[in-house]
Symmetry: C2
Subunit: 141 residues, 2 copies
């Protein structure tokens, strides 16, 4: 049932609920905080959330941040076309903001490295923790 086309459409009920919780959040959310948001819509168990998240990640609509055990909505229209790309996240430890980027130079460096090592990556995790420019300026007073 259902095929994903554009954002939010053609998702199953639980997938839509999880997706809108994430889309409505300005930062990453844990599976359990998503659950809390959508309890009022009838979702009751962690597993329902995790199952929806698995699919959303598979669709490229959501990314998992490994260093936070949390999830964010994809910041591109849909990451679908970028499945093969190397995505990087910056995570500001001050404001909690997350930025998602695809950079050619970085992708190239990773690809080159993998080739050199004869390692076939199926998934890459690149996360920078630190302080974003906005928080730095805010601190300089």
């Amino acid at each position: 049932m259902t095929k994903r086309t554009d954002i939010g459409a053609d998702l199953t009920k639980n997938q839509s609920l999880v997706m809108s919780a994430l889309a409505g959040s300005k930062g990453p959310m844990s599976a359990y905080s998503i659950l809390d948001e959508i309890r009022s819509d009838g979702v009751r168990a962690p597993l329902q959330v995790y199952r929806a998240l698995d699919k959303l990640v598979e669709f490229g609509l959501v990314h998992r941040l490994e260093s936070l055990n949390a999830f964010v909505a994809c910041q591109h229209p849909a990451c679908d076309g970028r499945k093969e790309k190397t995505v990087l996240f910056t995570i500001c430890e001050t404001c909690g903001g997350v930025q998602e980027l695809v950079k050619d130079r970085l992708s190239k460096a990773i690809e080159g490295l993998a080739r050199e090592l004869e390692f076939s990556p199926s998934k890459s995790t690149i996360e920078l923790r630190g302080m974003c420019s906005a928080c730095k300026t805010a601190t300089e007073n």
Copy 2:
């Protein structure tokens, strides 16, 4: 008490126990599997392991693999001098093997990116999941 100099020396009791469990393992270990290894030495609670791990990570003797929630001994003599470097891990999903690398091209790409974004990283996580060359050759039969 105690100052770290070379590997294994000048660590506290619990730190040494955790360190040797990790050093004796060919792959990454979870905190709880470390605990199981060193229960016979009198370590009883997760917290004792986590505290030792925190210090060992701080010393650069151990790295945390975020995508596995697990820990590995540093594969360099001691990662100490490399604190500012960008370390990458390849994680083979077939054999469980982990390789730790420092590559200049990658470090440069990350640094350039951070500068461009005016983001100040305090820690970077770069992990490639996939299949190592050895497992690939083993599969080709």
